[in-house]
């Protein structure tokens, strides 16, 4: 009923986004917990840009598509399914900001955690809104 409509997609997208926000919060908590450990390097989570790329790849048509006359041909353009996009953790191993080899910036991490918290609140409100819209119809 809902799987292929805009409701299902919105809820699925928000669900994935909230999962990623939780993972990102875990990574930020780990960075803050290890802010005094020598030679610890901070990690970040990449997700939004690859999700955007995947969502755009479904709509944008290639300028010069290559003909595939056989199922074994590889086309020049393949759209990426946005459901297959996974969050990617990246270790920031190149920079150093303290004399002990640690590169955790406490202010940066606190700001990240704050924006992460607000983003999660926003996402939960958005998902709540979606369910309330359905409730309106069902009532």
């Amino acid at each position: 009923m809902f799987e292929n409509g805009s409701f299902g997609k919105t809820v699925d997208l928000l669900h994935r986004a909230m999962d990623v926000t939780t993972l990102r919060r875990q990574v930020i908590a780990d960075n803050i917990a290890n802010s005094g450990v020598p030679n610890f390097k901070r990690s970040t989570v990449n997700f939004e840009s690859s999700l955007k790329k995947a969502l755009e790849s479904e709509e944008v048509e290639p300028v010069l598509p290559m003909a595939t006359t056989d199922p074994r041909h590889i086309g020049s353009w393949q759209s990426v399914d946005w459901r297959s996009v996974e969050p990617r953790r990246v270790l920031d191993y190149l920079t150093t900001s303290k004399s002990n080899g640690n590169n955790v910036d406490a202010e940066q991490e606190m700001m990240d955690s704050l924006s992460n918290q607000l983003l999660y609140t926003l996402q939960s409100q958005a998902i709540n809104f979606e369910f309330n819209q359905v409730n309106l119809v069902l009532r």
Binding site: M18, T22, R25, N31, I32, Y93
Partner: protein
Amino acid sequence: MGLLTSINIAATGMAAERLRSDVIADNIANSSTTRTTEGGPFRRSRVILRPITQETYFRTPFLPQGLDNGAGRGVRVSEVQKDSSPSRLVYDPTHADAIKTGPNAGYVEMPNVNIVTEMVDLIAASRAYEANSAMANGSKAMFMKALEIGR
């Protein structure tokens, strides 16, 4: 990745920072102890911290996920180490623990505790504890919002 993992990570950080301030308090309390059960003056302790995830983070273009050991799981205390730097010598020949013979006769070996260093470390530990506690509080507020979904 669970809902409460970030709170658990913040808890590991808080536990580690608490132990750090405990050790600093012990160092300050013993800043003029000249006699210990091991013999000699008190030696300051320092806490060695390390991430809970011990394995090396391998990077290879061929196995992007294969050698990944997951997101970090927090911090742990690796050991409480004795600082072996030389002790402070104070000239006090009437002291019961004064050195009797040799070139340093008349000097008392005082602990190698520097109050200024300890206070600075205490401020660092206390701020780190605050950061972890702010993290746990934020996670709590976040998950309360999640509980409101569908209400």
